[in-house]
């Protein structure tokens, strides 16, 4: 009986927590829209389109057939860049975390590279990869790989040693230890790295499209700027922001769930 009551009160508590969370989110959204509307009223249509006009234009874009190839191009570049960032980041991060000396040497270098404005590397990327999607993928991956590497390295470095001792007692092979112990034990930190890496990779891909591309969401923004089409410019930005927040929220949800188990 007491157990049932506890279960109910925990459920009620969780429901109340969830309601409060969504209430807070709604409040933030309303706050942003209000500030946006005020800025629009101060600056006028020539600088900032109103929230309503932007939403209408975003709806028009989403309904037009010509928009989707650009969205697909950005999504494709983002997915490829994320996969590259993840593969390199997890591989290098695992090695640096497992090998003390390499980790100690690489960590300050990685932190320095993390704070380097990567836009300075873009001319080099263009020289190497040309003007196609490859340059955007490479530029996106460069942004995402460092946080994934740093998070993975720290996760491997700080892994609970008793897990590895247990693996030895249970006679796991090196491959089994890597896939069944190391990977799941470090997964919460890797997902945290992926969450940070995702935002930066998207930033890298869109920056790549802003400067040297004929397709993609970044290109749409640049073309709208060239035509002084403020509502289109802001509508594309809004669509990008909503997509980024949605994906980030999913990653945050997974991240929280994984961390709750630790």
């Amino acid at each position: 009986m007491a157990g049932t009551q506890t279960a109910y009160s925990r459920k009620d508590h969780e429901r109340a927590e969830r309601l409060r969370y969504f209430g807070d989110v709604a409040l933030v959204i309303v706050g942003i829209v209000v500030v946006w509307q005020i800025l629009h009223m101060l600056a006028g249509d020539v600088a900032i389109s109103s929230p309503l006009a932007t939403a209408i234009r975003a709806g028009e874009l989403l309904g037009s057939a010509s928009f989707w190839p650009h969205a697909a191009e950005t999504a494709k570049a983002l997915v490829y860049a994320l996969i590259i960032a993840l593969l390199i980041g997890i591989g290098v991060g695992t090695w640096l975390g497992a090998h003390k000396l390499s980790g100690a040497v690489a960590e300050p270098i990685l932190v320095a590279l993390y704070s380097l404005p990567k836009i300075t590397l873009y001319p080099l990327i263009l020289l190497v990869f040309g003007l196609g999607i490859e340059a955007k993928i490479a530029f996106g991956a460069i942004h995402g790989v460092i946080p994934v590497t740093i998070f993975t390295m720290n996760a491997v470095k700080n892994i609970n040693r008793v897990f590895l001792r247990s693996a030895r007692v249970m006679k796991l092979t090196a491959m089994q230890t890597a896939t069944r112990i190391l990977l799941p034990a470090t997964m919460p930190e890797i997902v945290s790295g992926l969450r940070v890496g995702f935002s930066l990779t998207l930033l890298g891909v869109v920056i790549g499209e802003l400067f040297s591309s004929h397709r993609g969401m970044g290109f749409l923004v640049m073309r709208a700027i060239g035509l002084h089409d403020v509502s289109t410019m802001m509508a594309v930005t809004l669509i990008l922001a909503v997509a980024a927040v949605a994906i980030s929220s999913i990653l945050l949800y997974i991240d929280n769930r994984l961390h709750r188990r630790v």
């Binding site: 008793v162 247990s166 030895r168 034990a185």
Partner: protein, 269 residues
Amino acid sequence: MSHEVHARLEGVTRVYPAVAGNPPVHALGPIDLDLRKGEFFSIVGPSGCGKSTCMDVLAGLAAPTEGNVWFEDKRVHGNVPDGIGAVFQEDASFPWLTVEDNAAFGLRRAGVDAAEIRRRVDYALGFVGLKDFAKAYPAQLSGGMRQRVCIARTLVLQPRLILLDEPFGALDAQTRLLMGDELLKLWRETGATVLLITHALDEAAMLSDRIGAMSARPGRFLETVETGWSRDRDSRMLEGETFGHITGRLWQMLRSESQRAMGHEGGVA
């Protein structure tokens, strides 16, 4: 209990090499130890005396610097032989797996068929009293329950030698006594040889057939105490007079060693 030797340490020493300017540490030995088949043997000693190192060497988790280790007449040298299971002081339950998946982990690795895994896991979880928590994650359990998950994970592998490194160190006194009863039940039912590392003299006195008292670092056996308990024993023996004599004798041996370990050379009168 037979006097057949199940595992043997012969002149074993363990010296940790110098690290980052610190001198090498002579942690253990030389020690000799014969573990008899089916006995419950405990090692007690002051903090840092090399008890856990002794267990690591016996388990094959660390190679001895000198000497030989034998398990079932085969030499152990930095590799864990079949038939040895270990439970550590730290919580080693895998947080990403449910209780039942934790218990089944080693069996799945060994390629045991699903029906047999189910049978052994059910038995082990029933034995450690976690059947109702089979679908729970370790984060949802108390420290004692998590340690029981680790015991179940070891139990399903049916080890012939179970090594326990202060498995109840983090638990309160009452829970430790109850866990001790569970451990004795496990020992009786499996017939395995058990080596328990502990700093708790009462725990060692209650659980063991023999107790090896270890000196301050580098750990050497000062004396081995035979308790003379029957195999069918439990925590109620704490009320008996013999129990007090055994713990008293252990403390007599270890008092000056513990003071030495704390840096009070020469001891206190």
